[in-house]
Point group: C2
Chain length 432, copies 2
């Protein structure tokens, strides 16, 4: 009988062994793809100085950060906290180790981050982020934005059974348009309306533009712009046709054109689309922005994203460090895929061979045999309980694909039989 509540605290993922194995496999596959694309694994501490973490946070983020204490203090005095993303620790890492790194520095971080937000379905307080970032010193050509997008697409393809598409935009296009229309002081509101356009009806979007005081003409331009999406040629030619004489706007269009062209050159045309609705809420993105969606499962929404930031570590150093990065929020994604039956977490026994000694006398032989099978690359376990043979076999069949019974005669003759628990078939074991 349970004496106390042993459930994990709310907002935490805790999986049963088979689901955990599927989760871990996905994490490993993502990591392998990131490394294959030349990103170097780094790991920063979970706990960092509050002054580092809060240098960039503020607002809601700061409220959500977990502060840590060792002795009785109040939260106001706390000078250490749990990291809430990988970007801030990356900035600290790059500044701290600048002289030991080669730039452009391509880094990947896969680990747990923490936000103490109100727990709700599919939202986690502790969650895995799988990040790639490329940091330049002084400058970083736009071509690297394509590198990040291609890498993430490759990572998704490693475990998804449904197509994935990167929806790409460039914030310079939006901000250039806003500037050309003379709406700079309404910039923050406009970004927010575009960011929400997908979640509300076209009427609501129109009304929102009205409410911030845009004219009929401005609204129709903004609505047409927000709805523009499609392949590179379609979107780029439409944008160029606007004939907007704004340098930032044209710069953004050219960058979008180049990033998408480089992705097409890698055979990724079917996995990319330009979409003016993608602006990404975060303030620090300054150029390319992108989000990944599953077109056959639109209800799932974004499964990851990222973008370009002109200066990673302006709070920590005078050195200009432009970067581009992207992230897969694996904990949430796993939950969503799982609840949409897009991954199978029920099947798959993790043990190849379960060796079943008939009595204790065969335990030593069984353990030695297990070592030989492991040397051949198999996952092998030995039933060492003192139960009846029938009980041992029941246990073996539950957790393993195959069983090998070892009794006196097997030890004597060395002749062993494998029972396949799925088919019931028996075959001779031949050791290499």
């Amino acid at each position: 009988m349970k004496k106390i509540n042993t459930s994990p605290i709310s907002g935490m993922q805790e999986l049963l062994p088979n689901a955990q194995a599927v989760f871990d496999n996905i994490k490993t596959k993502i990591s392998e793809v990131y490394h294959a694309h030349g990103y170097i694994g780094i790991e920063t501490p979970t706990i960092d100085r509050a002054e580092i973490l809060f240098a960039k946070a503020g607002g809601d983020t700061e409220k959500q950060v977990y502060k840590v204490f060792k002795t009785a203090e109040t939260a106001d005095e706390a000078d250490e906290a749990l990291r809430f993303d990988h970007t801030v620790p990356l900035a600290r890492y790059v500044v701290e180790h600048e002289n030991d790194l080669n730039f452009p520095f391509k880094a990947t971080q896969i680990g747990r981050n923490f936000r103490g937000e109100r727990a709700q379905k599919g939202r986690y307080r502790e969650f895995y982020q799988c990040d790639v970032d490329i940091i330049g010193r002084g400058s970083l050509p736009i071509a690297y934005d394509a590198d990040v997008i291609a890498t993430l697409l490759d990572a998704y393809k490693g475990f998804l059974t449904t197509p994935v598409v990167a929806r790409i935009n460039n914030r310079k296009i939006v901000s250039g348009l806003i500037a050309a229309l003379g709406l700079v002081e309404k910039s923050a509101d406009i970004y927010e309306i575009i960011d929400h356009a997908e979640k509300v009806s076209p009427e609501t979007t129109k009304k929102s533009f009205e409410e911030i005081g845009l004219s009929e003409n401005e609204i129709s331009k903004m609505v047409a712009f927000t709805n523009l999406h499609g392949n590179r040629e379609h979107v780029v030619s439409n944008l160029k046709n606007i004939k907007l004489d704004n340098e930032i706007f044209l710069d953004g269009v050219n960058e979008l054109d180049e990033v998408m062209s480089l992705l097409e050159a890698q055979g990724l045309a079917d996995n990319i689309t330009a979409d003016m609705k993608i602006v990404r809420g975060l303030d620090y993105y300054t150029g390319t922005v992108f989000e990944f969606n599953l077109p056959e499962h639109k209800e799932i929404g974004s499964v990851g994203g990222g973008g370009r930031y002109e200066n990673l570590a302006s709070n920590f150093t005078d050195q200009t460090l432009p970067g581009v990065g992207g992230s897969i929020g694996l904990t949430r994604l796993f939950f969503v895929l799982n609840s949409n039956n897009l991954i199978d977490t029920t099947t798959g026994k993790l043990i190849d061979y379960e060796i079943v000694p008939i009595s204790e006398n065969e335990n030593g032989f069984a353990l030695d045999l297990a070592g030989q099978l492991r040397a051949e690359g198999y996952v092998v376990d030995v039933v060492l309980t003192d139960k009846k043979l029938g009980d041992k076999l029941t246990y073996a069949a539950k957790i393993a694909k195959n069983g090998i019974v070892v009794g006196e005669s097997e030890v004597e003759t060395g002749k062993l039989k494998i029972k396949n628990f799925e088919t019931g078939e028996t075959s001779d074991l031949e050791l290499v």
Copy 2:
């Protein structure tokens, strides 16, 4: 110029990319060995209820635990904290998910734990523990103790370049001896003296026994016992020769005999030794205890250990859950191996091929070529900077083993040359 202190907080490990790669490789190897031995990976939240974590802690451990807060509170009111080991969350996990697990349940946990102890060289406040545990329901045969020790030995052999030895004891032997000598009320002191015997001179140990009031005769018995170590036959026969009529003592000797016999049956005789000095400080071990040492580097001390606990989760449930577990403290071990030059963290470029487009016009071709090489299993990166060719090649040679220059003629003819940056040799690239 740096604006603020960007070093990680003291007591945290933060590695440069090459050292991180070596660290990650070791972690992966340990995980692979654990899985090959039939241990199933589980992962518990970093943050847990204080009432769960403190159920077993107390004393120094409780003082070292990091408490976490989201809003202004004092530490006394905190009801959540960071886990300080894997054993307490495992106990919670097993009780919570009991009906979904198969017993004996063989679990592995590899992750970060936290202790806010005073930072000192080689001691970390955040550290990786690589654990294996086997939990029984009601009972768990002693043979499983051998399973854990064999698994850890196999894991060490996967990355150590120096021999490793498991020093094995059984606390029933010590406690039986103490009972037979009528010294039960001095039990805690005696355990502590034995535990420290290795770190002090024989005279100091003798004096310590004197100070707690042992007679000349008792001291000579305890000293002789403490010094007893060697192979199974030697130690077991010596212990049996004491002819101590105490059931617990005899039980301990037989268990030690069986555990070591099962390890010998797997060809591990050279990697094990019986040693009465090993008692392990922790209160909750009740039978087998073991510690791993590197005989050629005695100065390093223990590199891991574990033991048998009769009841994993007595604070959480009335169900008896005996277990045996072991752990490699990877963060400390990595530091120690590194500072003793037992691993090489300086060499090894992580990128197989760096593709160097001469101008931006070749970027697309280069990215596509990179994809083809990745499909063959290589780690491939493309230099996308707008620097001069010489600068691009310098960068490539720094981070990659081989370089492939792509210019107009290469794009036209498809004929590509690989330059090995280590040997300076050039060869033709042949795509499969």
